[in-house]
């Protein structure tokens, strides 16, 4: 079987598995977030938290709860990272904490994991103890993912409810999503990953003498438990520096398939929850179709560019194999790269910095699309719904009617929230890149010329969109980079999130508008095509100049 055929079957089998999951996982998640009953464990949790699970929250209170939880998480994780050497210090690093995890690095890492970005300016095996990885970083893998899903559900409630001030209870959503969706799936995935060869222990590993007599330290760590939620929660922060390329995180070609599946499965199933909650499954299918079309196009293009191996070094090689492992090969690596940036995961099984110029552009473009196809857990759905709101607005302008979506009028207030949501990320990316270039901080790049510029663009695009992957040659563990990217991650997560909840609040307050002859049907191919067009055109208008100076200059 040729590489191309095998690579195509790899993608098709993922699509088939995701199609099955859409129905079943989607319906299951709908029951979790829409149910009334609390289990005994959950009632215990609410008692410990001191919250009344029956009390629903307005959008403002919901937003403040999210922000309070995230703020406490950042502070707690920052302290944990700085104090990690005090308890259960395995491995026993010789470098003291003040030379290993600088304050600026701890800030960057704390923000990174709480915002579901998982950008890593450190090397896991050389900086973090097992204890802080599992009890600090991996905890945020769960709860930051749950926050994303909770906010998406709150937005959908805004569409589904009539004349209501209430969007649900954040603490209930957080608890249920964590305990009933993320945790059970992570347990299953972690055990399967161990069966595939992922390590799971609490030791420092084994130091041994190799066949030629050299010393090699085989590392240990609670990797499988972290790897499972890292993919499932579209987090992406690797236990080790080389992330999912590491044989202990991703030992075989089939664990590779599983990891791609895990990082896509929740984002692609959430439109089902949307469809069920607004009591019209066709609306879910329409959103799914938009996500699917963009995702398939991106995966195919990345494969075409990588298998085509254009560029001087790839031509000298005869295959774009630098930075890729043999067991995955070129095609499955390209598919992973596309999937990890179409979602907000940012895990990598190969190094994007060494991709062909245009193959390496695809991850950047995927992130620039706003990570909506399918996007991060929750953030993908709410991002796509905002784009859908913008689309009906654009369509309404064309025919001179007040636009509607899912029975709600899109008026001035709604479109203001939607526009603010859309503008914040490009502003962060472009201002950040400009600042790096103007202040000379770009000089930490590893490559020269257009590729070096691409490293800078990639860094801010990844941070502002909460992705976390990188053109990793650039050195970013400096006070300036850690601070700047930390700010980009923080603002890129929480400002959009506040605007989404504001939009949800103003939608929930409205009464339903009955569909009329002039209403644009939002479940038909016409609308699907329009949303795809809006995504692509908005992004092209915003980012083409930056792309022209980087990957396009290099690849054309």
């Amino acid at each position: 079987m040729s590489t191309t055929t095998a690579g195509a079957i790899f993608v098709l089998s993922l699509i088939a598995a995701l199609a099955v999951a859409y129905r079943y996982l989607g319906d299951y998640m709908f029951r979790v977030v829409d149910g009334e009953r609390h289990s005994r464990v959950e009632r215990g949790v609410y008692r410990v938290l001191g919250v009344d699970p029956g009390a629903e929250q307005s959008w403002g209170v919901y937003a403040r709860s999210v922000l309070a939880f995230s703020l406490i998480s950042i502070l707690g994780l920052f302290a944990f990272l700085r104090l990690q050497d005090l308890i259960f210090k395995v491995p026993d690093f010789a470098t003291p904490i003040n030379e290993r995890v600088f304050p600026h690095l701890a800030w960057n890492t704390a923000v990174s994991f709480v915002t579901n970005t998982n950008w890593q300016a450190y090397s896991g095996e050389a900086a973090m103890t097992h204890f802080v990885q599992m009890a600090g970083l991996a905890v945020q893998n769960f709860v930051s993912a749950a926050v994303g899903i909770a906010v998406a559900v709150a937005l959908v409630r805004g569409f589904a409810r009539r004349k209501s001030e209430q969007l649900g209870n954040f603490w209930v959503d957080l608890t249920r999503i964590t305990l009933r969706i993320l945790l059970p799936l992570a347990v299953v995935a972690a055990v399967v990953l161990v069966a595939g060869g992922v390590v799971q222990n609490l030791t420092d590993g084994t130091t041994l003498s190799t066949l030629t007599g050299a010393q090699q330290h085989i590392t240990g760590g609670p990797v499988a438990s972290q790897e499972a939620i890292k993919e499932l929660g579209t987090n992406g922060g690797g236990f080790y520096n080389v992330n999912s390329a590491h044989p202990f995180e991703n030992p075989t070609a089939w664990t590779d398939w599983l990891e791609v599946f895990l990082l896509l499965v929740i984002p692609f199933s959430l439109p089902r929850v949307f469809g069920r909650m607004v009591k019209d499954n066709r609306q879910g299918y329409a959103i799914l179709a938009v996500m699917g079309i963009i995702a398939v196009a991106s995966i195919v293009l990345t494969n075409v560019f990588e298998l085509g191996h254009a560029g001087t070094v790839p031509q000298a090689l005869g295959a774009a194999l630098e930075g890729k492992d043999v067991r995955f090969g070129v095609s499955n690596s390209a598919t992973f790269a596309a999937a990890t940036t179409l979602t907000s995961t940012g895990a990598v099984n190969s190094f994007h910095d060494s991709y062909t110029a245009l193959g390496g552009m695809m991850p950047i473009v995927n992130m620039m699309l706003g990570e909506v196809a399918p996007g991060g857990v929750g953030s993908g759905l709410y991002g796509m719904l905002v784009i859908a709101v913008i689309t009906v607005f654009v369509a309404g302008l064309m025919v001179g009617r007040t636009p509607e979506y899912i029975g709600k009028k899109i008026g001035a207030r709604e479109i203001k929230f939607a526009s603010m949501y859309f503008l914040i990320t490009p502003a962060l990316v472009l201002i950040g890149v400009a600042a790096a270039m103007a202040t000379g901080n770009w000089q930490t790049q590893a490559n020269v010329g257009p590729h070096g510029f691409s490293e800078v663009v990639y860094a801010f695009t990844s941070a502002a969109n909460n992705n976390g992957s990188a053109f990793a040659g650039i050195t970013v563990n400096t006070p300036w980079w850690d601070t700047a990217l930390g700010l980009a991650m923080l603002l890129g997560r929480f400002l959009p999130l506040i605007f989404v909840l504001g939009l949800a609040g103003s939608l929930a307050r409205q009464k339903a508008v009955p569909a009329s002859a002039g209403t644009l049907p939002t479940h038909r191919p016409l609308f699907v095509g329009m949303v795809v067009g809006v995504v692509v055109i908005l992004v092209a208008l915003t980012f083409l100049p930056a792309l022209a100076l980087g990957p396009l200059a290099e690849g054309l």
């Binding site: 079987m1 991996a138 161990v194 080389v242 390329a245 070094v313 000298a316 090689l317 890729k324 190094f351």
Partner: protein, 294 residues
Amino acid sequence: MRTPRWISQHLAAVRALLLFTVLLGLLYPLAITGVARIPGLRDHANGSLIEVNGQPVGSSLIGQSFTDADGNPVPRYFQSRPSASGYDPDATAASNLGPESIEDTLGDPALDPDSADGDGSKQALLTQVCARSKAVGELEGVDGSRPYCTADGVGAVLRVFRTDGLTGKVTRAVSVNQACPATPFIATYEGVTVECGRFGEDYRKGVLVPVRGSAPERSAVPADAVTASGSSLDPHISVDYANLQAKRVATIRGVPLDRVNALIDEHTDGRALGFMGEPAVNVLTLNLALDRMQ
């Protein structure tokens, strides 16, 4: 007195973080660690170690260097791929060099390249590939030439100066990766004599021109033999690279080539389910099997 709302929210947040830390940060990973103790999973969970005479010699998932103390290949072993970390699991890294990383930084001839600080030279990815290809070609007795590589194993790259910057007549051409007194890989470029590269000279006004040369599109040395992997711990090589090395290993060990080829087959992990990944030969288990045979 009731606690103000903004305080109670933060108190709930603190309690939530603590509770989830216990549940997701302690109970969950410890439970998985417990499950991973059961036979069948335990060896995997501990790193898939391979023991010889009761001593661990490696992990079947982690690659090793089969080189001597000076970094030269030990010819009786199949060689692994190049690695940006030297197969050190404590410092995993990829090269992160891009597809147009083609211009070297030449070393200062006044400094000793073997000193602790080196001579300041830095090889671009293209030169690394060309040098490895030449070395593998020599080790295996095949032609190691590749497109865009010079015969002396560096990137065949010129800086071409023209009268109007990007256009116009060529006024000067420098083979930037070939430090003087090397002989440039081509004598002339559009009628202008090509110079060798001089340390410290600023060639940035010239246009970078990689020169393809006449090497066949498909080199006798496979791509995985001359590229660093993403993990820097790649335990595998391609079937092509294993086949290329088979003759050398068979000769040195004095075993029939058929036996070595059979072992390669035995240690090739095919595509999972027939379509996932690429066929890959596990270098460590293959080398161990060779040692066991004798």
